[in-house]
């Protein structure tokens, strides 16, 4: 049976009536037309679908939408403030840390979540924090550089 879920997405309250088992990913993309969050595997193993729920990193492809009820969700579309990009977005641009760019939204949100808990991460902590995200262009070297650069920006 369909249920009604109320969630705040990028600061805007949204109400969706749907099957409670639908992945949050599908609801974001299909019902709310926020296609910045990507499908990569549907098994929670690649990080492309990463969003923040109440500030914490979740994998939206394996999160039933019912779990998002009364929660605050941040997607890649909600990270910039107007024209001002989030420091992590800026860092990815400055380092050229994307090739095809499909994993980039998930990478950026994982980095945001990481830097919230570890503002001054060691390389080992960056690896541990980002290891759930796959980049098949294999641009990990520049992504590491971008996360280091973002940490520096956010400390300032």
């Amino acid at each position: 049976m369909d249920v009604t879920v109320t969630l705040t997405v990028n600061g805007v309250e949204r109400t969706v009536t749907t099957d409670p088992q639908r992945p949050l990913l599908d609801v974001l993309r299909e019902d709310l037309h926020l296609t910045g969050t990507k499908y990569g595997c549907g098994e929670g193993r690649c990080g492309a679908c990463t969003v923040l729920m109440d500030g914490k990193r979740v994998l939206s492809c394996v999160t039933p939408v019912s779990l998002a009820d009364k929660k605050s969700i941040t997607t890649i579309e909600g990270l910039a403030k107007g024209d001002a990009l989030h420091p992590v977005q800026e860092a990815f641009l400055e380092e050229g840390a994307m090739q095809c760019g499909y994993c980039t939204p998930g990478m950026i949100l994982s980095a945001v979540a990481l830097l919230q808990t570890k503002p001054n991460p060691t390389d080992e902590e960056i690896i541990a924090g980002m290891n759930g995200n796959i980049c098949r262009c294999n641009g990990y070297v520049k992504i590491m550089n971008a996360v280091r650069r973002a940490a520096g920006k956010m400390r300032r």
Binding site: D26, T35, E43, I76, L85, G101, R136, N138, K142, M144
Partner: protein, 717 residues
Amino acid sequence: MTDNITGNRPESKSVKPFVTPSHEFTASRRTFVQALGAGLVITVTDALSWGQRRGGRGGGGGQGGAMPVVARLHLNDDGTIAVMSGKVEEGQGARTELSQAAAEELRVPFDRIRIVMADTDFVPDDGITAGSRTTPGNIPPMRQAAATARELLTRFAAQQWQVDAGTLEVRDGTITNKKTNQKLTYADLAKSKEIAEAFKQPIESNAALTAVSDWKVMGTSAVRANSRDLVTGAHRFPSDITRPNMLYGRVLRPPSYGAKLESIDLSEAKAMKDVVVVREGEFVGFAAPTLFQATAALEAAAKTVSWKPAPAPTSSKTVHAYLKEHARMGSSSEKGFAEAAKTLSATYTLAYIQHTPMEPRAAVAEWDDGKLTVWAGCDGPYRVKGDLVRLFSIPAERVHAIIPDMGGGFGGKHNPDAALEAARLAKAAGKPVWVRWTRAEEFTWAYFRPAAVIECRGGLNAKGSLVAWDFVNINAGGAAVDTPYSIPNKRAQSVGSDSPLAQGAYRCLAATGNNFARESFMDELAAAAGVDPLEFRLAHLENQRIRTVLETAAKHFNWFERRKKVTPELGVGLACGTEKNSVVAACVEVGIDRKKGEIKVREVCEAFECGPIQNPANLTSQVQGCIVMGLGGALTEEIQFENGKILNASFRDYRVPRFRDVPKIDVHLVPKNDIPSAGGGETPIIALAPAIGNAIFAATGVRLRAMPMRGDALKQV
């Protein structure tokens, strides 16, 4: 970015015939204005629709002498210039480098270029995006078009001012007569009827191109124009396209390869609210307002299916013996081996692997009044269009294919499967339909990088020189099958076999396997000759370009010193090679824990040369990406199959490289400006696996001859 499989099996070739040239000009399209991409507006004229015809021979891209300037290039009255390319951007940097090429020859800043890519209503058929062909095959025609335009514009200004064109300066899109300070800008000339007429002239193949030493835009690390949209989520990848009233589609797949549909009960699926069910022979698909509903309908129907399985000839455990048994071998040449003092032979193998681009194949199809528009993730817009024209037997002018910049490919998206599925479902539903394969579908129904058996034989004379060479690749293809070493008696060949799985292109394709076998075997021969692996190679290597990268990598890695420090837990190895007119060498350090069966690549020092460097930052990304992607094929990636089923169709069970696997990477781009630029997105992958295998051997004395090289194999010895 990919090679196309070669060999003697037509059915295994991934290259299909290109679309027949279509004469699509219709009066209704004589002029209209179309918004494209990032707010770009261009006026499409009758001459521009010429551009929809085939661009050049064999997909090489637009070298045909008769293409008019307007098929490639259009001046906008805001000073920007629209340029057209049939190539696809999938992360390799074609969008940026084609734009740099046009800007360079037009003498305008990079940000003045608005490139339209991979849209069959606007761009020439430049063939599929594959084989590292964009740089050698499509950059030069883009430069010629831009240089022709610049010369036409300059000549026009010279006529206006009654001066010699050679006295005029062209800079930043402005033509200046320095004596009189008269100026004309490209924006002024955009409105000129004479220029519009002049641009119908053919692109001049001998238009003067800017020398590498004078490059101002090419050779710089220009940034992809839509990169901001990638970090904000605003870019619409193929799987992100939505249309009004769009439905989401799923397609029924057999449980194993070759299984035939015997019966299915679609009544439950048909009874579901808002679900469209399509059955056309073996094709059974479902479309619904949400993906979840479409999947529920698919699952309801799948429970009722009866399948007749097909016999499965082999599994991943027995596939190499199977391929060898079915190999179409030629006769062996024994010349040279008779003189050899010492003969070695070894058999190397490669597993099937998957490309696994982050974005699975996807498409949206929309029918409107008998016309079909398809947005798809595929390596060639004209391939999508051609396949749709054939599937529906409709005239070419009724099909419009668009490839938005897509989420990776690596040679895995040559076929427009999802586009065909979406179009069939959309036709039946009477609404636009979206299809995006699941990861499991991608792992199972996309084609694979071929498995291979590679047999090597080499003969050394009494002085330890390599005098005889025999090398056969079974099933993977002929890329880089020839040895670059100077050996007096040699034979190298690629032969086909019966592939039990669908196989096709992959980043550098057979060159990876051929180089793995050859460079590992060269190490075996060096050991047999009692010579250092670097010295043994150099002693047999006349190719100066390979020598340069090999020596560069060895110098930066400090090869001789580090080789002295090898222990059973820490090995160093090197390898080199050439393919697609570029050259590469890598030195690696590998840590080994034989008790745990662990192989950890700790450091890679790679030198690469592909002629003049068109964009250093992009090339660095490509080389780094190749190195890390190469780690997966070298150590962990392997499709396991049995009874016509893929056993590891998930990221849980198929291990691709992650952050934790990344070694210290030291890339040296070797400049060489006296030859044409070659593509750089593939060849850097071929040196990794053999360098790793050689490092493992140096540490342990164990030679691993199967890709992937499993640490477990070290435990067993």
